[in-house]
C-alpha cells in the first residue's frame, strides 16, 4: 500500500487536500487553486474522452468513467493493471514514455477482459495522446475510440469504389462499340438500371431548335418518349445556352414551386407522368479540324435525362456525377463517331479514287492488250507479206547477225528463219560469198544505202544471180543499229541481158562484114576507075556512101554502148596527163574542124587525172565532134580545163541525178572503186546512193567544151544525154550523128565516177562539162 500512498490520486486529492487549519481566510492564489481542485474531479468524471493516469511502469493509477467504459473494466480492477494488457502489441510503454509527442497516436484496443462491454467490437482502435509527468511522476493519457469513424470512412471508400467500378463497367460497355446508336442505347439502359430510374432518355437538340428523343430506356408502364419530337418552346434557346455552359438540373419534384418550372412545362411533363427529373447536358466541342480540338467551342448536342414517374425523388450527388460522367463519355463517343465518319468519308473518297485508278489501270491494261494484239496482228501480217514474197527479206544487226528472216530463206537455203536467227552472215553465206558481201555490209553499217549484184549458191547447188539492197537502220543522227536486207533473184533478168548483149554483139559483128564490103565497094566505085558514072549516078553513089558511113558509126556506137552498159568494159584507170589528153583530142578532131571551117582553141593545163585515157579521149572527141557539127562555119570551139577547187561545185542544172549522187559522195566512190577491184566480175557495182552523209568535197578537175552554136533549150539539157535524143531529129540526119554519142560520153564519165552536164544559152552556144577525179583523190581512194 506504500505505493498507493506515495501516489496522488485525482479523486484522493480532494480528500487529501482538506485543510488542516481551515479558520484562516485563504490566500487568493490558494483560493483559485482550491476552486480548481473542486472543479477538476467532476470534469475528469464527465469527460467524454477516456482519461487515465499511468505510472512510470505503465500501470494504471487512476481512470475516469469513460476510460472504464473503453477498457470494459471497473476502476478498481483497472488500477494497478498494466496499460499494455489493453493496448496490444503495437503499444510499447518504454518507447511511448521516452519519445512522447504532442501528436495523437493510434493503438489497438485488446479485449482480453472477460466482461467486455460490447462483444461485437472485439477489436477497436483508439487514438491517444500522452502527456508525460502530468501529475508528479504520473503520465496523463487521453484515449478516444475511433473505431466508428474508421468504419464510416471505410464504408465511404467502399461506396466510392463501387461507383468507380460501376462507372468503369458502363464506360466499358459504351466503349465496346463505335456505333453511336448502340452507345446511346447502352448508356440509357445502364443509367436506368443503376439509378433505378423509371425512365432514362437521350434528347437530341436539332439545329432548328426542336429536338427529339433518340434513345430511351424505361419501365414498361410509363409512356414512351422515343422518337417524339419536341417543339422549340419546350426547350428555348436561352435554356440551350445555359446547358451548353454546363448547367445541370436536378428537380426532386416538378410540382414543387421551388423547382422553378414554368407552368406550361409542368403541364408538359405531366403528360409523361414525370414527377422528378435529372438533366445533364451532352456538350460537344465544335472543331474546324478533328485534331484541333483545343480551339473548339462548346455546343449543346443533347441532354441525358433521368425521370422518376411514380414519385418525386431526391437526386443524390453520386447520381448527378454518374450522369455527368456518362454525358462526357457520350460526348467523347460523338467526337469519335465524327472522326469515324470523317475517316469513313476519307475512306470513301480514297476508295473512289482507288476505284478510279483501278479503272484507269484496267483501261490501260485493256489498251495495252489491244495494242499488243494489234501489234501481233500487224507482225503476223508483216510476216505473211514477207513470207509470201519470193525475195529474201532480212534484218541484220550491227554485229552482222540475223534478227529477222522471211520464209524465202528456208526455200533458198533449206534453213528456217528460226535456225538462221542470231547467225552471223558468214555462217549463212559461206566464207567465199561473205568476202564478196563484206565491203557492202560494212558500207551499210556505216549508214549508206547500198545496192549491188552478187552470185550465190542455193541449197540445190544452183547458182543464182541476185540483186542486193541494204538499207541502214539509223537511230538518231548517226547511230546505225543494223540494216534491212532485200535480196531478189535476177538470174532470169541476167540471162535475158546476156542474150541481148550477145544478140547485139552478133548482130553488130554480122553487120560489119557486109558493111565493109558495101563501104569498100562504094569507095572503089567512086574512084571512077571501074567506069565513069553520070552526075546523077555520082550523086546517088555519094548518098550511098554517106549512109554507109553513118550506118557504120551507128553500129559502132550501139556496140560501144552495149558493152559499157553490160559491164563488160573495165576501165583501166591510171594517172593521165590532162594536157596530153586534150592535145590528142584536138589533133584527132582537127581535120573535121577544118572541114567545117571551125577554129579549135585548146587551153591545156598540166594536171594529173585518174582515168582510162582511151575512153576519156573518146568522150572528148565525141563532145568536140558535136560542138563542131553544131557550130556555124567561122565559129570557134574551146576546150578548156579547170583545176580542182576546194569546195565541191554546186550541182549545175542538167547534170544527171545518178552522177550527182556519185559525185556527191566520194565515200561511195571510194567504196565503188574498192568494190570494183575486190568483187568478182559478176558482182557489178551499180550506183549506190547515200542518204546520210553530206557530200564531202574531193578535188576534181572540170573539162569544158564550149561552142557558139544554136544552143539547147533548158528543158532539153538533161534529155540530150538519153539515147537517140537530139534537139531536132532532123539535125541527126543533117549532121550525121547517131544520137548515141552523148549517152556514151555519160556512161564513160560515170564509169570514172565523174559527172557530165550541159549548160546553154539558146542563140549563144552551149557548154558541155564533165569532171574527173584528180590524182590526189585517186590516191586517197
Amino acid at each position: 500500500m506504500s505505493k498507493r500512498s506515495s501516489r496522488q490520486s485525482l479523486r484522493s486529492g480532494k480528500a487529501n487536500s482538506s485543510p488542516k487549519n481551515s479558520p484562516q481566510p485563504p490566500h487568493p492564489q490558494v483560493q483559485r487553486q482550491v476552486a480548481q481542485e473542486r472543479l477538476i474531479p467532476p470534469l475528469f468524471e464527465v469527460a467524454q474522452d477516456a482519461i487515465v493516469l499511468v505510472d512510470g511502469q505503465g500501470c494504471f493509477v487512476d481512470a475516469n468513467q469513460a476510460a472504464c467504459q473503453l477498457f470494459g473494466q471497473s476502476r478498481q480492477l483497472l488500477i494497478g493493471k498494466a496499460l499494455s494488457t489493453f493496448l496490444g502489441a503495437r503499444f510499447d510503454c518504454g518507447t511511448a514514455f521516452t519519445t512522447a509527442s504532442s501528436e495523437p497516436a493510434i493503438a489497438e484496443l485488446c479485449s482480453i477482459a472477460p466482461n467486455l462491454l460490447d462483444p461485437n467490437k472485439a477489436r477497436r482502435e483508439v487514438e491517444y495522446t500522452l502527456t508525460l509527468n502530468a501529475l508528479g511522476d504520473c503520465h496523463l493519457m487521453l484515449l478516444r475510440d475511433i473505431s466508428q469513424r474508421q468504419e464510416a470512412l471505410e464504408a465511404e471508400l467502399r461506396r466510392q469504389r463501387q461507383r468507380v467500378e460501376l462507372f468503369s463497367e458502363v464506360t466499358l460497355k459504351i466503349r465496346q462499340s463505335l456505333q453511336l446508336k448502340e452507345i446511346l442505347h447502352t448508356t440509357v439502359t445502364e443509367v436506368q438500371r443503376i439509378l433505378q430510374a423509371d425512365r432514362v432518355l437521350i434528347y437530341q437538340v436539332l439545329p432548328d431548335g426542336t429536338g427529339k428523343t433518340i434513345s430511351e430506356s424505361g419501365l414498361p408502364n410509363y409512356p414512351v418518349l422515343m422518337d417524339l419530337e419536341f417543339p422549340e418552346e419546350v426547350f428555348p434557346l436561352n435554356y440551350q445556352a445555359l446547358y451548353a455552359q454546363g448547367r445541370v438540373r436536378a428537380i426532386a419534384d416538378v410540382h414543387d414551386p421551388k423547382a422553378g418550372l414554368a407552368e406550361c412545362l409542368v403541364e408538359f411533363v405531366d403528360q409523361f407522368d414525370i414527377k422528378a427529373k435529372l438533366i445533364v447536358p451532352i456538350v460537344q466541342s465544335i472543331t474546324t479540324h478533328p485534331t484541333d480540338a483545343a480551339q473548339g467551342q462548346n455546343q449543346l448536342w443533347g441532354l441525358l435525362i433521368a425521370h422518376q414517374c411514380k414519385s418525386p425523388r431526391h437526386w443524390v450527388d453520386f447520381e448527378l456525377e454518374l450522369m455527368q460522367q456518362l454525358a462526357d463519355q457520350i460526348s467523347i463517343a460523338l467526337s469519335q463517331a465524327q472522326l469515324l465518319e470523317h475517316l469513313e468519308e476519307i475512306v470513301e473518297t480514297r476508295t473512289a479514287e482507288l476505284k478510279e485508278a483501278n479503272r484507269h489501270l484496267q483501261q490501260e491494261v485493256n489498251d495495252r492488250i489491244q495494242a499488243e494484239t494489234a501489234l501481233r496482228q500487224s507482225e503476223e501480217q508483216l510476216r505473211l507479206i514477207t513470207n509470201a514474197l519470193p525475195v529474201l527479206i532480212a534484218y541484220v544487226d550491227a554485229q552482222q547477225r540475223y534478227r529477222f528472216n522471211n520464209q524465202a530463206y528456208e526455200e533458198w537455203f533449206g534453213k528456217t528463219p528460226n535456225e538462221i536467227h542470231g547467225d552471223h552472215l558468214r555462217q549463212v553465206w559461206g566464207q567465199d560469198c561473205y568476202e564478196r558481201m563484206q565491203t557492202y555490209v560494212e558500207a551499210a553499217l556505216s549508214g549508206q544505202v547500198i545496192s549491188y549484184e552478187n552470185d550465190i549458191i542455193l541449197k540445190n547447188n544452183r547458182m543464182r544471180s541476185v540483186d542486193v539492197t541494204y538499207i541502214p537502220d539509223v537511230e538518231g543522227s548517226n547511230t546505225v543499229k543494223g540494216f534491212f536486207a532485200l535480196t531478189s533473184d535476177i538470174s532470169d533478168r541476167k540471162a535475158i541481158e546476156r542474150m541481148k548483149d550477145e544478140f547485139i554483139s552478133v548482130v553488130s559483128h554480122e553487120l560489119r562484114t557486109p558493111l565493109t564490103s558495101l563501104h569498100s565497094a562504094l569507095k572503089i566505085l567512086a574512084t571512077g576507075r571501074l567506069g565513069n558514072l553520070s552526075n546523077e549516078g555520082q550523086q546517088m553513089l555519094g548518098i550511098a556512101d554517106d549512109s554507109t558511113e553513118r550506118l557504120v558509126r551507128l553500129v559502132n556506137n550501139v556496140l560501144d554502148l552495149q558493152r559499157i552498159e553490160s559491164g563488160k568494159v573495165i576501165m583501166h584507170r591510171q594517172a593521165c596527163n590532162a594536157a596530153s589528153l586534150m592535145t590528142s583530142a584536138v589533133e584527132a578532131m582537127q581535120a573535121m574542124a577544118q572541114q567545117h571551117e571551125i577554129t579549135l582553141v585548146s587551153q591545156p593545163a598540166d594536171l594529173e587525172v585518174w582515168a582510162d585515157a582511151d575512153y576519156i579521149l573518146q568522150a572528148l572527141t565525141n563532145l568536140l565532134s558535136n560542138a563542131i557539127k553544131f557550130s556555124s562555119p567561122g565559129g570557134t570551139v574551146w576546150l578548156t580545163i579547170e583545176p580542182p577547187q576546194r569546195q565541191s561545185q554546186p550541182i549545175p542544172q542538167g547534170s544527171k541525178s545518178k552522177s550527182q549522187s556519185l559525185k556527191s559522195n566520194a565515200q561511195t566512190a571510194k567504196l565503188a572503186s574498192k568494190a570494183a577491184r575486190s568483187a568478182t566480175q559478176n558482182s557489178k557495182l551499180r550506183t549506190p546512193q547515200s542518204t546520210i552523209h553530206n557530200p564531202p568535197s574531193f578535188p576534181e578537175v572540170v573539162f569544158r567544151v564550149r561552142d557558139e552554136g544554136q544552143g539547147i533549150p533548158a528543158h532539153e539539157l538533161e534529155r540530150i544525154f538519153e539515147r537517140f535524143q537530139q534537139v531536132d531529129s532532123s539535125d541527126s540526119r543533117k549532121k550525121g550523128g547517131t544520137g548515141l554519142g552523148l549517152t556514151i560520153c555519160r556512161k564513160i564519165i560515170e564509169q570514172h565516177h565523174g559527172r557530165i552536164w550541159a549548160e546553154s544559152k539558146p542563140g549563144y552556144g552551149s557548154v558541155f562539162s564533165f569532171t574527173l577525179p584528180t590524182l590526189m583523190e585517186a590516191e586517197s581512194l
Binding site: H509, T513, L515, K523, T527
Partner: protein, 124 residues
C-alpha cells in the same frame, strides 16, 4: 612505093574481093586470098607474103588459132599479121596486141585506105 604481096584470110568472099580490088587499085600490090585458117596457113607457107590480113571471126579455126599456128611454123613465124576485126573495142585491141599481132584494123574499113593503114602500122 615498093610492090608488096598481101595475104587476106577471110571466110567472107566479098571481103576477099573488096580487099583485093581496093589494094590493087590504091597501091597496085599483089593480093593473095584464102577463105579459111588452114588454107591461109598453106598459102602463107607457099606464097610468103609481106603481111597477112587475118579475119578474127571465122568458123572452125578462128583468127587467133590461125595466128598461133602461123607463129608455130618457122616459115610463117616472121610474117607480120594484122587482124581484121568487127570487135572494135579498146579492150580487144589490147588483147590482140598482147598476142603479138602487128596491128588491128577494125571493120568496117575502106579497102582503098588499106595500103596506107598497113604501111603506117608496119612502118613501111
Amino acid at each position: 612505093m615498093t610492090s608488096r604481096r598481101i595475104l587476106i584470110i577471110d571466110d567472107e568472099e566479098t571481103i576477099q574481093t573488096v580487099v583485093q580490088f581496093g589494094i590493087r587499085m590504091a597501091a597496085g600490090w599483089e593480093v593473095l586470098t584464102a577463105g579459111s585458117g588452114p588454107q591461109g596457113i598453106h598459102t602463107a607457107q607457099t606464097g610468103q607474103p609481106d603481111v597477112i590480113l587475118l579475119d578474127v571471126m571465122m568458123p572452125e579455126m578462128d583468127g587467133i588459132a590461125t595466128f598461133r599456128a602461123l607463129q608455130s611454123h618457122a616459115e610463117t613465124k616472121q610474117i607480120p599479121v594484122i587482124f581484121l576485126t568487127a570487135k572494135a573495142q579498146t579492150a580487144e585491141k589490147r588483147q590482140f596486141n598482147d598476142l603479138g599481132v602487128s596491128g588491128v584494123i577494125t571493120k568496117p574499113f575502106n579497102s582503098l585506105d588499106l595500103p596506107e593503114q598497113i604501111a603506117r602500122i608496119l612502118h613501111w
